[in-house]
């Protein structure tokens, strides 16, 4: 019924190809980097702020606040990763309002890629925080027999994250497509607006879940540390 943006190949040279997903991802990346660079080029710490600086400060401090709410830890190390997840997904979804644009998040490949990133980030942050041995020991808790379940849990968590984002983005696109066949005028616009909302919510949920996973690994370590102290 709908074609995944992966299948729209814009450029191909041998095995190297650029499809719509990659192209629009680059577009989003370019946009984000350009705006960030333009704004942060002339930051001020005193006097009145520019509107753009204000916007970005609200965004960054908002993300920091959310990370702290979830993890109860210093948001500094997690901010670039979790913040980028949120901003990338949110901007990708919001741009769906632009005609001719296909959100890269509506490709299962992208959502899988993001989920894999989270999947890798959880142990990376865990090891960075508590060392490799302490981290690996968690898989043997509470007993050695729990190791397979811990590993399955870790994998399923990643898969669920990927499918959740993909499913939500796809459903929005598919609903619009169905409605277009039934009522080609006006109503799809409402759905499109609703799509923007769900897109933002998905971005939020994805980022928060990623943070929860990362934080849970660290919280387990904190609990151990606290027990050790006792």
């Amino acid at each position: 019924m709908t074609i995944s943006p992966d299948e729209i190949v814009l450029f191909q040279y041998g095995w190297f190809k650029i499809n719509a997903t990659i192209f629009f991802t680059w577009l989003v990346m370019l946009l984000l980097t350009l705006v960030s660079w333009l704004v942060t080029r002339k930051l001020t710490s005193e006097g009145p702020l520019t509107r753009w600086q204000n916007l970005l400060e609200v965004l960054v401090s908002g993300i920091k606040g959310q990370i702290y709410e979830v993890s109860r830890q210093d948001p500094g190390p997690y901010l670039p990763f979790v913040g980028t997840l949120f901003i990338f997904i949110a901007v990708s979804n919001i741009l769906a309002i632009v005609p001719g644009y296909t959100p890269p998040t509506s490709s299962l490949s992208t959502t899988a890629a993001l989920a894999i990133c989270v999947f890798v980030a959880v142990p990376v942050f865990g090891i960075a925080n508590q060392g490799i041995m302490n981290y690996l020991r968690q898989y043997l808790k509470p007993t050695f027999f729990m190791l397979p379940f811990n590993i399955i849990g870790e994998l399923s968590r990643t898969l669920a994250l990927a499918v959740r984002l993909y499913g939500n983005m796809m459903s929005g696109t598919i609903i619009v497509a169905i409605l277009l066949t039934i009522t080609p005028l006006i109503f799809p616009v409402v759905m499109q607006a609703l799509g923007l909302l769900t897109g933002l919510i998905q971005a939020y949920i994805f980022a928060i879940l990623a943070m929860v996973y990362i934080a849970s690994a660290n919280q387990a370590r904190q609990e151990i540390a606290e027990k050790g102290e006792k």
Partner: protein, 271 residues
Amino acid sequence: MIIDWYTTIFQIINFLVLVFLLRAFLYRPIIKAMDTREEIIMEREEDAATRKEQAEKEANEYRDQRAALEEEKEQILEEARVSAEKEKNSLLEKARSEVDQTRRRWEDAFEREKETFIGELRRRIGQQACHVARRCLSDLADASLEAHTWDLFIDKLKKLPEEEASALEKALTGEKGAFSLSSAFEPDQEKAEKLTGVLKELLSADGLELKPSLKENPDLVCGLELEAGGYRVAWNVDSYLEDVEEKILKELDHTAPAEEEVAEGDESRTD
């Protein structure tokens, strides 16, 4: 709906690149700017706190200073009050003493005036008495009072005690016989010659020529006075008049309070 692994790997790389790009261009500068601002705000707050503290300190200092000034003012006022009181007292004292002085002066003046008045009165009374006596004598004895006075004076000379007579003689000898004869009336040449004769008889020293010089002196009040080289023999109504004067003075003293009242009236006028 299948996952395209090629795209997936591409997207993983894309995402990681984006993470680093945003870290470099977004998070780091923004957080740095926010931290700097926070620092500035903290600095300002600290500065404000310091300044406030300082201001409070200064305010306290000024309050203390004002209190000290107030105290000083009170002290100065008190001193001024005391010195004003002293000044007032001294002025009052001065005024009082001046009034006393004036009063004393006035009293002295009054006393003098009184004496002058009494003197004048005595003279007038004497004159009047003489006048009355003369009238009586001339009317009754058919002799002038003056003649009678001369007779009385000559009589007095005749009855002069011995020591006084010798003193008179001594004086006359010192003046080589020159003496002055003062009378209240026009001198009577005849009587004067008679008196010179009596005087010659009285004196034991012979060869001394007596040279009388006659003078008229109304102050004598019906009397005669002989004066030679500081020695004096006199007769007049003074002794009688003195009695009258005494009585008049007594009378005046009796009416003194009434006169003082008048005097005070005068004083208030002179002030």
